[in-house]
Every structure is written in structure tokens, then in C-alpha cells.
């Protein structure tokens, strides 16, 4: 029993629920008050406090905490391991930055109390999700994550936002139920559902039931992959992002989709074990799907004129890099995947926040309107350029390192066809990424003749919005220049999993 774990889950949740209660009261009375200074301070304080508690808890070392028997023989069980620690750290950084950004940004969307209520609650849930010590506890937080993040998507309350939110909800639910389907089988054929590095398959029980178990694992990968935007359940992403407020898109794309990947990792490496899947049809189909998604996502992003939608497709593509890395089932590729998870979290947050700045300042959503911004907001656009570099995978950014590892892992894996096809697809996709991200930079700095350069006055956003962008850009660069501490940390995880 470790109170810190509980506290790190409960603190933001309670803080969020309090805000929600206030917001619900106002909603019933029909009188929505302005977002007062006091509430702003409360939110910021709660966010900072809970982030520090989470980080402190995470870096305390291996701790575990089991609560009560939830299902027959299954406890609500938390354990901090290296992977969870990594997730919590990444999420906390992103959360703090997006949170401060939102304080400034949400002014023009309204209903801030509700937004921050869900925002804090979601943070608690993600912490719980990262700390979950067994599959069922993870599933619990996974479902809650879907339910609580949905109101962020429909924040504006417009018809299309509601429809997009429902789409998001139903895709996620579909994924979650696929996950549950597989979980039941794992419960039968594993010694335990507690996360054990390298898997806990009960080989004696599996004897003769490999077919159904493989199917179950595959369904699980598909299901959790839905959250990560893997084919065929990817289409919620481009629907949900454009209608959600930009910070909400940022945290959807930056963090929540990663938890789909996390769930897949937990399933494959911590419950089933990579050995069971290696060389089976599941691995091949999975790789095909991941590569297809990588390629198709990039292609669709390339053709998409609306910036946020373009970024959403980009997420589809980039998260499948991670899934592809995981699917290879070799240490280097998994290392690359985890690295990419971190890098992409920061980078995609940054990209969406930048897109938010454009919307906040000018109301522009389409890429072709974004010419000539370099003069008006050079800092923002430079940040954007760093993010674009990182996402494309050009040194010295983090994206390069992670993609390097991914490609290396693929080549090392020795899987016929895929060991060379994978890197090729990654490369093509990187080209496409460059193709869809850089036009904004190019047009921004070199608008050409016909564009009116304007009066040249600076129109940078407020520091509250700008600083998070800069921090994220710095992080993206830092991960490219000094990746070694992170790589060392991650190699611990892979070592554990593959031993």
C-alpha cells in the first residue's frame, strides 16, 4: 500500500471533479459565469501540484499498491515500472505545458471551468493508466480515459463537434471492447494478468489452443490500435481533431493516442510475451497494417488542406511508426518505438499548439492562408519549423534518433521482406512528411510576391502560449542532441522485456 500512488491518481481527479461540479451547477442554472482569476489560479495550482506529486511518485522507485479485490481474484493493482515512469514523465510535461497554454487559449472557446475540470480529471486517469499493474486495472482507466476525453472533443457543443465526439467515442469503445475480448482469453491462458516483463503465458494451458489465443491477441492489438489510429479503426482521428479546441487536439494526438500504443506494449510484452507472437500470422498482419497506416496516413495528410486535419493524418501515420516498431519484436525496434513515443508526444503537441496559435490569432484553419506569417510571428514559426524537422526525422532533432533506431531494428529483425520494406516505407513516409509540413514554413518565411507582407508589426501570442511552444521545441532539439540518457533508460526496459 503506497499512498503516493493513490494520491497522484486522486489529487488531480478530485480537483477536476470539484471544477466539474461547479460547472454542472452553472449549467443547470443556465448561468455560466466567466472564468475568474481565482479559478484560474486554482487550476494552475492544482495542475502544478498534481504534476509534481506524480513525478515524485514515479521517480521514487519500484513501488506497488494493491487496493481491493475488484473482480473475483483480480485486484485493483498499481505498480510503478520503468515504462510507466516514462509515460508519466512525458505526460506530465506535456500536461503542464498544454495546461498553461490552455489558460490563455481557452478564453476564446468559453466554458473553461468544464474544460479544466475534464482536463484535470483526465490527468489523474492517465496517471492511473500509466501506473496500472495489471491488465484489468489498465482497462478500467483506459475506458475512463475515453469517456473523460470525449467532452474535450465536443467542447464547442456544435452539431459537428458532437458528431465527431460520438465517432471518437464509438471507435474507442469498439477498440476497448476488442481489448476486453482478448483480455478474457488472456485471463484463461496466462498465469496472471499482472504485468510481468516478458509475459506470463501458461504454456501448458495454451497447448492446443494456440489458434484462438493468437486470434484473441490480434483482436486486442486491433482494438488498442484503434486508439493509436491504426488501420482499420483510424478514421476518428481526422474527424475529432479539427472540431476540438487546439489544446485538446494536442493532448489527444500528443498523449492519448500513445496510450493505445502503451496498451499494445503492455499486452504484447508484459502479458503474452514477444516469443509467442514471433513469426506467427499475427505479427505479419500487424506489420502490414502498421506499414499501410504509416504510408496511407502520410499520403492523406499530404492531400489535406485543413491544417489540423493534416496534422491528425500525420498522427495516424506517426503513431503507426511506433506500432511498427513494436510489431517487429526485436529490442532495437522497440527502443526506437519508445523513443518515438516520447519524441512524437512533444512534437505533435507542439504542432497542434502552433496550429492553435494560428487559429487563436487569425482564425485561419487552411494551410493555403498561412502565407507570410514569418514576419508577424517569427518565434512561433521557428518553433513550428523545429517540430517539422523533428517529425520528418532530420538531425539534430529527436525524430532522427528514433527513426534511426526503428530502421535499424527493422533491418536487424531478419524478417523476410519486412526487414527492408519497413525502412523503405518509413523513408517514403518521411519524404511525404516533409512534403506536408514544410510548405507552412516556406510560405511563412517566403510568401512570394503576391502576398501582402502586412505592416510588419509583431503579432506573437502571449507568453503563456509562447513559452510552452518554446519549451517543446527545445525538448525536441534536446532529444536529438543528447539522446543518450533517454536511450539508456529505454534500453533498461527492452532488456527487461527481452531477457
Amino acid at each position: 500500500m503506497n499512498p503516493w500512488i493513490l494520491l497522484s491518481v486522486a489529487l488531480p481527479s478530485v480537483a477536476g471533479i470539484l471544477l466539474l461540479a461547479v460547472s454542472f451547477g452553472e449549467y443547470i442554472r443556465g448561468s455560466e459565469k466567466a472564468f475568474t482569476r481565482g479559478v484560474q489560479v486554482y487550476t494552475a495550482a492544482a495542475l502544478a501540484l498534481s504534476a509534481s506529486v506524480s513525478l515524485y511518485t514515479a521517480w521514487q522507485g519500484e513501488k506497488e499498491c494493491s487496493l481491493f479485490e475488484w473482480l473475483d481474484g483480480i485486484l485493483v493493482y498499481f505498480r510503478i515500472d520503468a515504462l510507466g515512469r516514462l509515460m508519466v514523465t512525458a505526460v506530465s510535461i506535456a500536461w503542464l505545458l498544454i495546461g498553461f497554454y490552455s489558460l490563455a487559449y481557452m478564453g476564446h472557446e468559453g466554458k473553461e471551468t468544464r474544460y479544466f475540470g475534464f482536463y484535470l480529471l483526465l490527468y489523474g486517469i492517465l496517471t492511473g493508466l500509466s501506473f496500472s499493474g495489471n491488465l484489468v486495472t489498465m482497462y478500467f482507466f483506459y475506458e475512463l480515459m475515453t469517456l473523460v476525453s470525449m467532452p474535450l472533443v465536443l467542447h464547442s457543443g456544435s452539431r459537428e463537434a458532437v458528431m465527431a465526439a460520438l465517432k471518437y467515442l464509438f471507435y474507442s469503445m469498439c477498440g476497448a471492447y476488442c481489448g476486453l475480448f482478448g483480455m478474457v482469453f488472456l485471463y484463461r491462458y496466462c498465469h496472471t494478468l499482472d504485468f510481468t516483463a516478458g509475459g506470463a503465458l501458461n504454456l501448458a494451458a495454451v497447448q492446443g489452443h494456440e489458434g484462438i489465443l493468437l486470434t484473441a491477441v490480434f483482436v486486442m492489438i486491433l482494438g488498442f490500435g484503434a486508439k493509436a489510429g491504426m488501420l482499420p479503426l483510424h478514421s476518428w482521428l481526422p474527424a475529432a481533431h479539427p472540431v476540438a479546441p487546439s489544446p485538446a487536439s494536442a493532448l489527444l494526438s500528443g498523449t492519448i493516442v500513445k496510450f493505445g500504443a502503451l496498451a499494445v506494449i503492455r499486452t504484447v510484452y508484459y502479458v503474452v510475451g514477444p516469443g509467442f507472437l514471433r513469426g506467427t500470422w499475427v505479427q505479419y498482419v500487424w506489420m502490414v497494417l502498421a506499414l499501410l497506416t504509416v504510408f496511407m496516413g502520410s499520403l492523406l495528410a499530404y492531400r489535406e488542406p485543413v491544417l489540423k486535419k493534416r496534422l491528425a493524418y500525420s498522427t495516424v501515420s506517426q503513431v503507426s511508426y511506433i506500432l511498427f516498431g513494436i510489431s517487429l519484436l526485436v529490442p532495437d525496434a522497440v527502443e526506437g518505438a519508445l523513443l518515438h513515443m516520447v519524441v512524437h508526444a512533444f512534437v505533435k503537441c507542439g504542432l497542434f499548439l502552433t496550429a492553435g496559435v494560428f487559429i487563436y490569432r487569425f482564425g485561419y484553419t487552411r494551410v493555403d492562408r498561412l502565407g507570410g506569417l514569418g514576419r508577424k510571428m517569427p518565434v512561433t514559426l521557428w518553433c513550428y519549423t523545429v517540430f517539422a524537422l523533428a517529425l520528418t526525422g532530420i538531425p539534430p532533432t529527436g525524430g532522427f534518433v528514433s527513426k534511426w533506431y526503428l530502421a535499424e531494428g527493422a533491418l536487424q529483425s531478419g524478417i523476410p521482406v519486412f526487414s527492408w520494406l519497413g525502412p523503405v516505407v518509413l523513408l517514403v513516409s518521411a519524404l511525404l512528411t516533409a512534403g506536408y509540413l514544410f510548405p507552412v514554413t516556406i510560405k511563412g518565411f517566403f510568401p512570394g510576391e503576391e502576398k501582402d507582407p502586412g505592416n510588419g508589426a509583431k503579432e506573437e501570442p502571449s507568453p503563456l502560449m509562447l513559452i510552452p511552444l518554446m519549451v517543446l521545441a527545445a525538448l525536441a532539439l534536446l532529444l536529438g542532441i543528447m539522446p543518450n540518457p533517454l536511450i539508456r533508460y529505454i534500453s533498461q526496459i527492452t532488456l527487461e522485456v527481452f531477457s
Binding site: F24, Y27, I28, G30, F68, E69, W70, L71, D72, V136, Y139, F140, E143, L144, L147, L154, S156, G157, S158, R159, V162, A165, L166, L169, F170, M173, C174, Y177, C178, L180, F181, V184, F185, Y187, R188, H209, I212
Partner: protein, 492 residues
């Protein structure tokens, strides 16, 4: 003494029901107090009985030979009786308020109480004849409740209700006769009573009879293709739809199916046969079919009724897995679904009562005007979807676990069906909630000025149900262990 109590428990509500039209009440309030008092006293009696279960059986009456009306308290019956006696007083509380806008209340409460007694009769039945007897009585006693509104719709609904019920009973009758002839006794004995020597080479016939009998009893549980009566029966006042057609009556069908499968035919003879496959296929089809129909339906109560169709087949799915775990799963869903579905129906009833709106597309914006009702509604929807933390997940988990454990390929398909159904449930329930809470940015709330939350009579039951859903959802261990104890008796 305790022995007699079993009879008293069955007869007391029937007599107090009959008293309602006879007593000269001074005003409606007095009548309500009398009825609630009777129901509470009855529930107290039931719980006392379940606390001190009599060891022996009580034979009330003999038809012929060894065919008798006999009562006994056993684990499964205790569960069912306990559930009924927990829900009935709450449902009555709700109906006092709800029935204000309906006519001829007295006859309504008369039959409502009679149904209580008969349901307990089914729970306490010691042998198959007793169960059949009360099963038929139940069909008849609930008929006037469906006819209550006396509209043409009610007329047609009650007609098809009766056709299905009596038809189902006719096929169940075949099974009963078979048990009487080929069984060593007519009582319910864990593990089944069939005498394999007597059956000899009639194995296939036995299976056919089982299928007929199962279908017959399951007509009450609205198994496909006998499900269309349930949505039609939604014309009855909401307390009836909620308590009887989502919980008590329909659960008796599932209860009977359990009794027949586990206590009369015996799962040893049935497991792995074509009969199991047939009934399981039916059940799996129903799970998906009910949900799909619910999705298509725009009438609020009918949508919930179709949802009931699907959820009842979850219970039956547990039953036809034919393992102790399956029975645990089935019973847990029977228990939990009762709370979830009665709660949803009561919420729907509150909306109908307060606003007169019957269709899903009329729910726009009501979440703001009736927040308590709709928050409850949302919680029960989430529970029905099987969101972890609420009770629906627990039973779904147990069902799936049992299905996987049974290593029957068709059961795997059933697990998939459960997942599909959960997804469909999410779609048809949450679209309603979203409608109510997020009607669109420029929705005019002025149109809803008349709508507001109902009074405590309606809200109290809802609050209790929500509490129960959370309790069971977070801490299911004790309940499940209790169910395992019950089923541990069953020999496999």
C-alpha cells in the same frame, strides 16, 4: 414455523392485493401507505425467511400422485427472492407518483402485489410442477397490467403477450412431462434428475425435448425468435415495464431456464451436444439482434425493451455455457441487470411522466432541466455498456470468463457477440445522453420550461439503484463468492 412462512410469504401479497379494492381508504394517501406497508412487511418477511431458511420442504397441495405444489428455500431461489423483495417496495414507491396520471390505480396495485407473491412462488418452487404452475399464473397476473391503458395498442400488445406466454408454456410443458416420466424425482436436484437407465437409447429425443423446453421457458426471456412481445408490452405503465418486463417476469424465464438446465436435465447430459449448440446459437443471435433493433428504435421505452431482450440473453448465455462458472455469470448478470435496467426504465418513466415525451429525438436539452434524472440515466447507461467500475462490467467479465473457460468454439463467438452488443449498447444509450446534455449550441431552453426533476418518491429509488450499481461494480467479490457457493452445490 419457518416452513409455514414460505407459504405465508407467497400468499401474503396476494391477499393484501385482493384487499385493496375492498378496503374503504380515506384518500389516496392512505391507500399508498397501506400498500407500501404491505410490501415492506412482505420484504421483511422474505429477508427473515432467507436469514433462517427452513431445512425441510413444505408440500401445500397435491395434484395427483407425486405432482405437488411444494416450497423450499435454496441458494438460487434465495437470490431470486431476495432480489425481488428488494426491488418491489422501491418500485411501488415510484409507482405511487407515476400512477397519479393513470386511471384505475386500484386494479393496478392489486395485480402489482399479486405478481409479487407469484414471483416469490417461482423463487421458492421446489419442483418443476410448482414452478410451471406459478409460471403460468404469472403470465395471467401480469396480463391486466399490460392491458391497463385499455387502448387499441394495449389490446394488441396483451394479445401477443399472451400468445407468446401460453405458447411458450405449452412447449415448456413437454419438458416438464419428460422430466416427470424419465426423472427419478420431480424436485430440483443440483446436477439433474434424469435417470439414464430409463432413457436408454432415447438420447436424441431427450436433447430435442430439452431444446423445446428451453425455448418454451425462454419465451419469457424474449429469446430470438420469440422476442417481439417484449417491446410491444412497453405500452404498459412504466412501473410495469420497469419492474416486470425488465426484471421480475423476464427473469423468471431465465430462472426457469437455469432450473431446468442445471437442476432437472443436468448439464452432464447436455454439455457438448447439438442441443447445447442450438440453444447457444439462439442466445448468441438474440444478443446481437436485440441490440440492433434497439439501435433502430426511436421510441424511448421500446428501445430500452429491445436492450432488455439483448441483456436477458446475456443471462441465458451464461446458462447455456453449462459450467458452474457460466451459471455464476448468468446469475450475476441477472442480479446486476435488474438494477441497471430498472434504473434506466425509471429514468425514462420520469421523463414521460414529467414531459410526456416518448421518443428519443424529443430528449434534446432535457439533461439541463432534469439533471438528477439524466445523471442517473447516464450512470445506468454506462453500467449497461459495461464500463468498468459499474456492475455491468463485472457480470460481463464473469460471463466472458466462463465462456472462454468452457473451450467451446460457439462460446467464443458468444464472447464476440457480447462485445458487439456492448458497442451497440454504447451507441444507442449514449446518443440519447448526448442529445439530452448537448442539444446543439443554439438550442432554445425556453421550450422546456415545464420540465423539471420529479419529487423524492421517484428519486429515492433511483438514488438507491445508482448506489447499488457502484457498490457491486467496485466490490463484486462478496457477491460473486456467494454465487459460487450457490453453484458449488451443483454437481458437474
Amino acid at each position: 414455523m419457518n416452513k409455514i412462512l414460505m407459504l405465508i410469504v407467497v400468499l401474503f401479497p396476494i391477499f393484501s392485493g385482493v384487499l385493496i379494492p375492498m378496503l374503504p381508504f380515506r384518500g389516496r394517501r392512505a391507500m399508498c401507505i397501506f400498500i407500501e406497508g404491505c410490501a415492506l412487511a412482505e420484504s421483511a418477511l422474505v429477508f427473515f425467511l432467507l436469514q433462517n431458511p427452513p431445512a425441510e420442504t413444505l408440500t401445500v397441495f397435491r395434484f395427483t400422485g407425486n405432482l405437488s405444489i411444494t416450497f423450499r428455500v435454496d441458494g438460487m431461489g434465495a437470490l431470486f427472492a431476495g432480489m425481488a423483495s428488494f426491488l418491489w417496495p422501491l418500485a411501488l414507491l415510484y409507482s405511487f407518483e407515476y400512477m397519479k396520471h393513470e386511471h384505475s390505480e386500484k386494479s393496478f396495485f392489486l395485480f402489482y402485489l399479486i405478481t409479487y407473491g407469484i414471483t416469490l412462488g417461482i423463487a421458492l418452487a421446489e419442483n418443476i410442477l410448482t414452478m410451471y404452475f406459478f409460471f403460468e399464473m404469472l403470465s395471467m397476473a401480469t396480463l391486466p397490467l399490460i392491458m391497463h391503458t385499455r387502448t387499441r395498442e394495449a389490446f394488441l400488445a396483451s394479445r401477443s403477450y399472451l400468445y407468446y406466454m401460453l405458447g411458450g408454456a405449452a412447449f415448456a410443458f413437454i419438458g416438464m412431462i419428460f422430466i416427470l416420466t424419465y426423472g427419478t424425482t420431480s424436485s430440483f436436484v443440483p446436477g439433474g434428475v434424469l435417470d439414464t437407465v430409463k432413457i436408454g437409447d432415447k438420447g436424441n429425443l431427450l436433447l430435442l425435448v430439452y431444446v423445446l423446453c428451453f425455448c418454451g421457458f425462454s419465451v419469457k426471456t424474449a429469446v430470438f425468435p420469440f422476442s417481439s412481445w417484449l417491446p410491444k408490452a412497453g405500452v404498459a405503465p412504466t412501473p410495469v415495464t420497469a419492474l416486470l418486463h425488465a426484471v421480475a417476469v423476464v427473469n423468471t424465464g431465465a430462472f426457469a431456464a437455469m432450473r431446468v438446465t442445471y437442476y432437472s436435465f443436468g448439464t452432464d447430459l447436455l454439455r457438448g451436444t447439438w442441443a447445447q449448440n442450438v440453444v447457444m446459437a439462439l442466445v448468441v443471435i438474440t444478443i446481437v439482434y436485440g441490440c440492433s433493433r434497439a439501435l433502430k428504435e426511436t421510441h424511448l421505452k421500446r428501445r430500452l425493451a429491445w436492450s432488455t431482450v439483448s441483456n436477458l440473453s446475456y443471462i441465458l448465455f451464461g446458462v447455456v455455457i453449462m459450467t458452474p462458472l457460466g451459471l455464476v455469470g448468468g446469475m450475476s448478470h441477472m442480479l446486476f441487470h435488474s438494477f441497471m435496467k430498472i434504473c434506466s426504465f425509471f429514468c425514462a418513466g420520469a421523463v414521460i411522466y414529467k414531459t410526456g415525451r416518448n421518443y428519443v429525438y424529443e430528449l434534446d436539452g432535457l439533461g439541463r432541466k432534469m439533471p438528477k434524472v439524466f445523471v442517473t440515466f447516464t450512470v445506468s447507461s454506462l453500467a449497461l455498456m459495461g464500463v468498468p467500475g459499474l456492475c455491468g462490467f463485472v457480470s460481463k467479465w464473469n460471463l466472458c470468463r466462463a465462456a472462454v473457460d468452457s473451450e467451446n468454439p460457439l462460446a467464443y463467438a458468444g464472447v464476440a457477440a457480447l462485445m458487439v452488443s456492448a458497442l451497440l449498447t454504447a451507441i444507442y444509450m449514449l446518443t440519447m445522453m448526448i442529445r439530452a446534455f448537448f442539444p446543439g449550441r443554439d438550442f432554445d431552453y425556453g421550450k422546456l420550461s415545464e420540465a423539471k426533476d420529479p419529487n423524492w418518491l421517484m428519486l429515492l429509488p433511483l438514488a438507491v439503484f445508482v448506489a447499488v450499481m457502484f457498490c457491486f461494480g467496485l466490490r463484486s467479490g462478496p457477491v460473486i463468492r456467494f454465487l459460487q457457493e450457490i453453484t458449488g452445490v451443483v454437481r458437474f
